[in-house]
Each structure stands twice: as structure tokens, then as C-alpha cells.
């Protein structure tokens, strides 16, 4: 049995730890150790992007990262994007514009889109297609995905332009 090492990461806001073999891939840590099976394994060769998660704020392919190299990192998986009750604008966009067919690649696509929209909330169609270069969808032909991303960007822009309601301001002055 190979030697195991402790790994501690913050996943979707919660500290989690595990003892891992150095060869364990980040995607397996998330799926098998932490039961976060929203992150999918598609090609397993760093091409399809179904395993995309945010690692310290950047979209990365978790099938190509050793879990041990992510020690100390902050990770957001699709489960941390929004909730069933309160969808993230990206999820809302994919829902309303049907940016999927079978849905297998969708978690990774949404995380790659998250990487784009956190840098640029007003992307052109060309920029959206460029950002989708690292994900492969075999159903949609990408047309509906592009529309979903445009819609998500619109929702985010609307959200950001809305004045903060006083109801959301705590007594300390923070916005909840």
C-alpha cells in the first residue's frame, strides 16, 4: 500500500480533509471521498472539460490535477454554484435557454462559463465560443449553450445593476 498524505481543502465553503495517495486525482477526491458527484469524468484525457471546477478562483480540469497538489486550495464545484431553491444566474441561463441535451457535460460547461463570466460579464459571441474551447458537448452543437451564456451574462448584469435593498443590509452594514 502506497504511503498516504493528508490533504485539506475548502470545498464550496466547507473545510474538508482526507488521507490520499499521491496518485489520487482531484476529480476522484471530489467524487469518491467527498461525494460531490456533480463533477463528471468524461474523456479523462484533459480534453472534454466535464470535470471542470474552480480552483482558487480559476476554472481547471480536475482530472489533470493531483489531489495532493490542491492541498490548501479553495474549490468550487457545480454543487457550490447555486442551490435548487436559488439557482445561480448561469444555472438559470442554462435552464431557461435549454443549454443542454443529455446534460452530462453541463456541470463542467457551467464551471468553464463561470471562469469566463467572473472576468467578463459582457462577452461577445466570439469570446463565449473561445471560452468554451476547453469543453466538449456532443449533443447541442453549442448554439443553445451560447444563448444560455448570453442570457446568464444578462442576468448577472441585471443583478449587479440593481440597487441594494435595505432589507438585505445587516446591522453591521454588510450586505447579506
Amino acid at each position: 500500500m502506497a504511503k498516504k498524505y493528508p490533504v485539506q481543502v475548502k470545498v464550496n465553503g466547507k473545510m474538508k480533509s482526507a488521507e490520499v495517495e499521491p496518485r489520487l486525482l482531484l476529480v476522484h477526491l471530489l467524487r469518491d471521498e467527498f461525494d460531490l458527484t456533480g463533477t463528471h469524468i468524461g474523456c479523462d484525457t484533459s480534453q472534454c472539460g466535464a470535470c471542470t471546477v474552480m480552483l482558487d478562483g480559476m476554472a481547471v480540469k480536475s482530472c489533470t490535477i493531483l489531489a495532493i497538489q490542491a492541498d490548501g486550495a479553495e474549490i468550487t464545484t457545480v454543487e457550490g454554484l447555486g442551490s435548487r431553491e436559488e439557482l445561480h444566474p448561469i444555472q438559470q441561463g442554462f435552464w431557461e435557454k435549454h443549454g443542454l441535451q443529455c446534460g452530462f457535460c453541463t456541470p463542467g460547461v457551467m464551471m468553464a462559463v463561470n471562469g469566463l463570466l467572473q472576468e467578463n460579464i459582457n462577452p461577445s459571441e466570439a469570446e463565449i465560443r473561445e471560452a468554451l474551447d476547453g469543453v466538449i458537448c456532443r449533443c447541442t452543437g453549442y448554439q443553445f449553450i451560447v444563448k444560455a451564456v448570453q442570457h446568464a451574462a444578462e442576468l448577472i448584469r441585471e443583478q449587479q445593476s440593481q440597487p441594494v435593498s435595505l432589507e438585505n443590509v445587516t446591522t453591521r452594514g454588510d450586505v447579506s
Binding site: K3, R23, H28, G115
Partner: protein, 285 residues
């Protein structure tokens, strides 16, 4: 796919990494962003006994300007170099090439030093490094060494890097402001690697005579190479369509072309000529 078992150790500094390489006596393999190495380990093409993780060594990150050169720390990721103001100001051709490397997610992890040290014959940066007279900064047991890129790359996944040394930076000559540079690439449709990639850097005198020309080609053969016959043909001549076309025919005339299911050696030779001609037109006309 899961790699074979290996042991893992993290280096906090360059001297520690060198000491660890020594301790493991050739069995230790450096890992940075891991985006070239981990896929090979998953396919079990390579099975290192121990990985020495250098990805946390902060001193190997960042871009600086030293005289007429831009020095890129080995651990600088593609995404960091792409967003760097010094790269934008002095080496826009590096940004142009990086945008053609893989995809958003890979560019967030892959490193400049890793790319050069890995020496994949279809990687993009070696072509540009050759065209920009790059120098590889190496630190080993006996101190620092600077090796020109032509002497560093010598075969598929083979470099002049000694077993107990580490690439700390890659420096690129800032091209003359009055000149032009470009990197053009024929993408493999599945992998996104270069079937053929051509980097060209050139400068003309006021009366149109070519007084500086570098052409680097990747993807075509066993190892990225400088198309020296193209350079020799053009140097001192005027930049005309006819001269460019004749020079481009020499792009691959002394190099063995690779061959695989996707592209025959004849096709690769043809692509070398076509992409060299396009790159030369872009930088000379």
C-alpha cells in the same frame, strides 16, 4: 485512468528541489502545473518513482524586464503571462502564441517553464522561443547556467537539462519595435496541438531590405527547429512576394518530417511551406 503508484515530496525552494533531485538519484521527476506530465502518467507512458512538487516556489513566478529581454519565471502560468502588462507592452507575440495553446482551463495551470522543459515536439512555445533567441535559465549543483534554446532542445521530450538541475526562467529577446512578429499554427483538430506551428520575427531597413529574420517551426519533426535556410535566403534581400515564396520552399528542406495517422510527412512538409509563407507575408509585407 489512474497513474501507477509514486511517492511525493514538496520543495519549498530551488536549492531544496536540487537537493531532492540529488537524493532521488535520477528517480525523482519535477512537477509544476502538471498539464503535460499528469496525462503521460495517466497513460502510464511515464512512471516516475517520486514526484518533486515545485509548484509552490514563489520566486519562480513572475515576469521582469532585463535590458532587451523579458524574463519569464518558470512557474508563470500561460494565463498569468497572457495577463501580464510587460508581456502586453514588449512581447505581444507571446500573448498571440499563448492564446493558441490548448484552452482556458489548461492555460490556468500550465507553466511556461514546464512547456520548455517538457520539450513536446508538438508544443507551441519552442517555435516562438527559437524565433525570439530565447535563453533557458538553469540552476543546478554548480550554480546558474544560461543555455540558448537551440542548445537546450535536442529531441522529442529530450533537453540538455542535467538530471539534478531545474529550469528557473526562460528569457526572450524583445523584438525590435520597428519589426514585426507572429505565430501561426495549423491545429490538430482533436488535441489542439500544433500539426505545424511557425513563428517569425523580422525587421526591414527603411528601404525595405531585410536585416533581421528568425523563423522557428514546431510540430513538423522530432524537435522544434529554426528554418535557417529560409533566414539565410532572405537576409539582405528586399521583402518581395517572390522572395518570400522562394524562401518558404526551403522551410523544411533539411529536416526529417514526422508522420502519423493524421498527417503524412509530405503533408507536414507542405504545411511547413504554406505556414512559413503566410507568417513571412505577415511580418515582411
Amino acid at each position: 485512468m489512474i497513474p501507477t503508484s509514486f511517492d511525493y515530496v514538496r520543495a519549498a525552494s530551488v536549492p531544496e528541489a536540487i537537493q531532492l533531485l540529488k537524493n532521488f538519484n535520477g528517480e525523482g521527476k519535477l512537477i509544476a502545473g502538471g498539464h503535460s506530465l499528469v496525462p503521460l502518467m495517466k497513460f502510464r507512458i511515464t512512471t516516475p518513482g517520486t514526484l518533486i512538487d515545485i509548484s509552490q516556489i514563489q520566486e519562480l513566478k513572475g515576469v521582469s524586464k532585463e535590458g532587451g529581454r523579458l524574463v519569464i519565471g518558470a512557474l508563470t502560468t500561460y494565463a498569468e503571462a497572457l495577463g501580464d502588462p510587460l508581456v502586453a507592452a514588449h512581447l505581444p507575440v507571446l500573448a498571440e502564441a499563448i492564446q493558441k495553446i490548448a484552452d482556458l482551463q489548461v492555460r490556468n495551470k500550465g507553466t511556461i517553464g514546464g512547456n520548455i522543459a517538457h520539450a513536446d515536439p508538438a508544443a507551441d512555445l519552442p517555435a516562438l522561443a527559437l524565433a525570439l533567441d530565447a535563453v533557458v535559465h538553469i540552476t543546478g549543483e554548480d550554480g546558474e547556467e544560461r543555455v540558448p534554446i537551440q542548445d537546450f532542445l535536442f529531441g522529442p521530450f529530450m533537453t540538455a537539462l542535467p538530471e539534478t538541475s531545474i529550469v528557473t526562467a526562460v528569457s526572450f529577446a524583445i523584438p525590435p519595435t520597428e519589426g514585426k512578429s507572429t505565430y501561426l499554427k495549423y491545429f490538430h483538430p482533436a488535441s489542439g496541438y500544433a500539426v505545424v506551428g511557425v513563428a517569425a520575427v523580422a525587421r526591414k531597413t527603411a528601404d525595405g531590405v531585410i536585416n533581421h529574420i528568425r523563423v522557428g517551426i514546431t510540430g513538423a519533426g522530432d524537435c522544434a527547429f529554426r528554418a535557417e535556410n529560409v533566414e539565410k535566403y532572405l537576409l539582405g534581400k528586399t521583402a518581395t512576394l517572390e522572395n518570400i515564396s522562394k524562401a518558404a520552399q526551403l522551410a523544411a528542406d533539411e529536416v526529417d518530417m514526422g508522420e502519423d495517422l493524421f498527417a503524412s510527412s509530405d503533408y507536414r512538409r507542405h504545411l511547413c511551406e504554406v505556414y512559413t509563407e503566410r507568417a513571412l507575408r505577415k511580418v515582411l509585407l
